[in-house]
């Protein structure tokens, strides 16, 4: 079966919905569709807590936001992208406000902003500590008003169809029925989010399996800066549920076993009772997570069945502030940890949170493949470089979702072409492959979950907060082995209706690709920068590595890493200074 | 479906007002006349006294309001109880006639009785 649209958006999270609305607004004549493996309002954007950064206060400037982002990224971002980003972010957040987003307000009715890690000014807009939830539902509900946006809810994309260097659509499975369909389009926008589930301990939802990265990679588009994986310093020990940075921005402290605010030992400034911007607990995430590792080495953390932890102290904030500004933190702590942060210390440890890298795009969200666009966490423009600042990601989804939507709309209209017959043939091949997968893998002896668990352990050991040449080589070997075992993984479920095992198997295949890209990119970057810390190369090396890595898939299925210079406009590489 | 012609808002208003007056007034009246006097918990008031009270137009007005609204309260709730509790929605028309019709008839009787006191 074949369906056709002008623009197909894969993903219904913040970036995907924003892109779809942008297409509909730019050119109402275009037939736009959103395909998502979960109902759009269940996308992972819903989990984002802390806020979205955009210059709003009179004492703030775009340049300062740009500088914070650039220095936060350890100078690996593209500064033209950052400048576009900071300039458009306020508009995007205001647009959300016009669409109904319940941003928290000041008493006079204006938007309120809060502090966030690595930011020199208060510029993070928030909707209590359920920012992503409100943002996503606002976008989703607004998207409902565009009745022309066709939705494929609970459809899983398995392949991007490419002919002669141009993307012409996708193949997707409808979960409920198991029906596969070739969905053609003149432009495809990938907004599939990140890949935290490649790691064992993550804040990311079950759906964050790097599908889009692998889809693009397999289609021939390069992935950029894949070695940069963000660890967030404060996740709950067993579940990995995030305790938002806003908890520290509102004044929370990080304590070690001895009750000591240990960040002062790691060049992050001196403790003050009140939170100070770009100081101590408001340092950037990479530095905070690294400090944790050193605390573990010094034996100053607390051991729990779920690994070593430090303590987040919110008690001095009082119930009133916590209920007003951090109600979700309180709810999560009490539900999942049986702790009331008003009176008790919250055990936390670093947790894989965000993927700085992703599908290589330009400022319009275009990938090197004609007709293929990407935005949101799946993409790498790049504004995040070696370390993303908290609260930059939600506005990134909006700014670049909008840009990609507009660019794709223009492209689809201008270069409208008949879908080549080879595409339809490819689609049929893919449909046959999926049908065969269901039937053939009866004899499998390998459990999907076992392979997945081992892959996750491999990634944690090989490419954790600190890595080195040996750990990465070992990880590469293990991944190769897991890949072989994956070929023999069994699918017990042969049903066509809501076969989540088939999906888990497809996701695992995607994750193995993404994992390999992360390891290979990390192995070649012989320096330490931002979230990529090599114990064998502890210093930053601008001489050799002030460059984006680009990993491409070779015809034989192996990866190859190359480099692309970083764009520097106004802020030459400097030292990252916090707390001074 | 013209909302401006739909009787539901009016019926609901009657139902709610009925629910409120019933909650406020029925317990004490029922307690006195249905339980306390019959079982001798309190001594029964004299006919003359009650007659005097009842003769006051205000009393009669209040009692009429109470009766009519309480009946509409019953009608509305009972209608939905039959719809949902007994799954009789397919007989909606006779049910509606029975319930609200009953309330109207009851109100007329009440008016008649109270006027002729």
């Amino acid at each position: 079966m074949t369906n056709s649209h002008d623009v197909v958006v894969v993903g219904g999270g913040g970036a995907g919905l924003r892109a779809a609305i942008a297409v509909a607004e730019t050119n109402p004549a275009l037939r736009v569709a959103v395909i998502s493996k979960v109902y759009p309002m269940r996308s992972h954007t819903v989990s984002a807590e802390g806020g979205a950064a955009a210059v709003a206060a009179p004492d703030d400037t775009l340049d300062e936001h740009a500088y914070d982002t650039v220095s936060g990224s350890d100078w690996l971002c593209d500064q033209d992208a950052v400048e576009a980003f900071v300039a458009e972010a306020p508009r995007e957040l205001l647009r959300l406000e016009h669409w109904g987003c319940p941003w928290s307000r000041q008493p006079d009715g204006k938007i309120a902003v809060r502090a966030f890690g690595g930011m020199k000014k208060k510029r993070t807009w928030f909707a209590a500590d359920r920012t992503g939830f409100h943002l996503l539902h606002t976008l989703f509900q607004t998207a409902l008003s565009y009745s022309d946006i066709v939705r494929y809810d609970e459809w899983y994309v398995t392949k991007i169809l490419v002919d002669d260097g141009r993307a012409y659509g996708v193949v997707a499975i409808e979960l409920a029925t198991g029906r596969t369909e070739t969905i053609t389009a003149n432009a495809v926008i990938l907004c599939t989010g990140g890949c935290g589930r490649v790691f064992p301990f993550t804040t990311n939802a079950n759906i964050k399996t790097g599908d889009g990265m692998a889809l693009a990679y397999r289609a021939g588009a390069p992935l950029k800066d894949m070695e940069f994986v963000q660890y967030h310093p404060t996740g709950l020990p067993f579940t990995g549920i995030l305790i938002t940075e806003a908890a520290r921005a509102e004044g929370g402290w990080l304590l070690n076993k001895e009750g000591y605010r240990y960040l002062q030992d790691y060049d992050l400034g001196t403790p003050t009772p009140e939170p100070v911007l770009r100081n101590m607990e408001l340092g950037p995430r990479d530095r905070l997570s690294q400090a944790f590792v050193h605390e573990v080495e010094k034996g100053r953390t607390i051991d729990t069945p779920y690994g070593p932890v430090v303590l987040l102290d919110l008690r001095h904030l009082g119930a009133k502030l916590i209920d007003a500004k951090l109600p979700f933190v309180r709810e999560l702590c009490s539900k999942y940890q049986n702790i009331d942060p008003v009176t008790e210390l919250v055990p936390v440890r670093p947790v894989v949170h965000y993927m700085m890298g992703g599908v290589h795009t330009d400022l319009r969200g275009a990938t090197p493949l004609d007709g293929l666009y990407a935005a949101g966490e799946v993409a790498c423009v790049s504004i995040n470089g070696a370390n993303r600042l908290g609260s930059n990601s939600l506005p990134e989804c909006l700014v670049f979702g909008n840009r990609a939507g507009r660019a794709a709309a223009v492209f689809a209209a201008r270069y409208h072409r008949e879908v080549p017959s080879s595409i339809l043939a490819q689609g049929r091949d893919e449909e046959r492959r999926l049908a065969a997968e269901l039937g053939r893998r009866v004899e499998g002896h390998q459990r999907i979950a076992d392979i997945r668990t081992e892959m996750q352990a491999t990634m944690e050991n090989g490419a954790g907060i600190y890595r080195d040449g040996d750990s990465l080589t070992k990880a590469a070997h293990e991944l190769a082995e897991l890949r072989l075992r994956f070929q023999h993984a069994g699918i017990d479920d042969h049903s066509t209706s809501f076969n989540t095992e088939l999906i888990a198997w497809l996701e695992l295949g995607f994750m193995l690709d993404v994992a390999e890209c992360i390891i290979d990119s990390a192995a070649l970057r012989e320096e330490s920068r931002g979230a990529h810390q090599r114990t064998d190369f502890p210093a930053r090396d601008d001489e050799r590595f002030l460059a984006h890595s680009l990993v491409r898939r070779q015809p034989d299925g192996t990866s190859r890493v190359g480099y692309l210079p970083v764009t520097i406009t106004r802020w030459p590489p400097g030292e990252r200074v916090y707390g001074r | 479906m013209n909302r401006r012609r739909s009787p539901e808002p009016l019926l609901w208003m009657l139902f709610s007002s009925g629910g409120m007056v019933a909650a406020l007034m029925v317990p004490i009246l029922l307690f006195l006349f249905g339980v306390a006097f019959p079982i001798g918990l309190l001594s029964t008031p004299s006919h003359a006294h009650l007659y005097a009270v009842l003769h006051n137009p205000l009393t009669r007005l209040v009692l009429f309001g109470l009766c009519a609204l309480a009946l509409f309260h019953w009608a509305h709730r009972f209608r939905y109880t039959l719809y949902d509790g007994l799954q009789l929605k397919r007989y909606a028309v006779p049910i509606v006639i029975l319930c609200y019709g009953g309330a109207v008839v009851g109100s007329v009787i009440a008016a008649g009785l109270l006027l002729t006191v």
Partner: protein, 252 residues
């Protein structure tokens, strides 16, 4: 404490079963384990064919609603130890067609939702350049609670009216309509009124109240509906008394 607990899970395989059959699994009984952790344990280690939805595992995406021991619950926010020593009965949400095992079809809600126009309606959209629409924290308070809905469908599952009257708009859709009606930035109350104030809208609700009792996010859809009934009834009666009144632009 026992080290294991039994999950009795409803299995329904379309085309194979004519109705759900219960299947038992032993899963580890650990502190902090949600029902969902038990189910993923089953899927990963015991039986890969069990189907259920989940994603965020932190009670915010709304995917994982199930009937646990007869009560609609988010399975990621309901814990095994609270049901010890078991067994725990896990079934799909009631009042929805079952697609497979614990997966239900919520298309009905998805088609009803746009009908109440859950988005900001304004006569004139002021340009973004003019800055935000001002809204004080008090004005936000008016609708905040109703904006917390995660579309988890527990309320539909608990509402007997919805099970008997499938055309009923239902608690969450009405609460979301009220969320916009009560938003000081919105001017769409009148446009929403036809749908809300229809026999399939608020008037079908008999205030069972279970929707609010089971809502994991404290939305209080029952309250939203009641409040709207009062608004709609007052308004109708006003119109009855003053047919050409200008009362139509009023907020819900």
């Amino acid at each position: 404490m026992a080290t294991e607990i039994t999950l009795e899970v409803a299995r329904y395989r379309p085309g194979v079963d004519s109705e759900p059959v219960m299947q038992s699994y032993q899963v580890p009984l650990r502190e902090h384990w949600a029902i969902l952790d038990g189910l993923t344990y089953v899927k990963d280690h015991l039986d890969g064919t069990l189907s259920f939805r989940w994603s965020c595992r932190m009670g915010i995406c709304g995917s994982c609603g199930m009937t646990v021991n007869g009560e609609p619950q988010l399975s990621c926010a309901t814990f095994l130890t609270d049901y010890a020593p078991g067994p725990i009965r896990v079934e799909p949400l009631h009042n929805f067609p079952v697609i497979r095992d614990l997966v239900v079809d919520i298309d009905d809600f998805m088609t009803k939702l746009p009908k109440v126009k859950p988005w900001i309606v304004r006569e004139v959209q002021s340009p973004v350049e003019e800055g935000e629409y001002l809204q004080t924290p008090e004005e936000m308070d008016e609708y905040q609670q109703f904006s917390m809905c995660i579309n988890c469908m527990l309320c539909y599952s608990a509402c007997p009216v919805y099970s008997l009257e499938p055309h009923f708009l239902g608690p969450a859709a009405i609460a979301l309509a009220q969320r916009y009606n009560l938003d000081s930035r919105d001017e769409g109350a009148d446009e929403r009124r036809d749908v809300l104030s229809s026999p399939e809208g608020i008037w079908a609700c008999t205030f069972v109240g279970e929707c609010s009792a089971v809502c994991p996010k404290g939305v209080d859809p029952a309250g939203a509906i009641q409040r709207y009934k009062l608004t709609a009834a007052t308004q109708s009666i006003k119109e009855l008394l003053m047919p050409r009144s200008l009362s139509s632009r009023r907020k819900g």
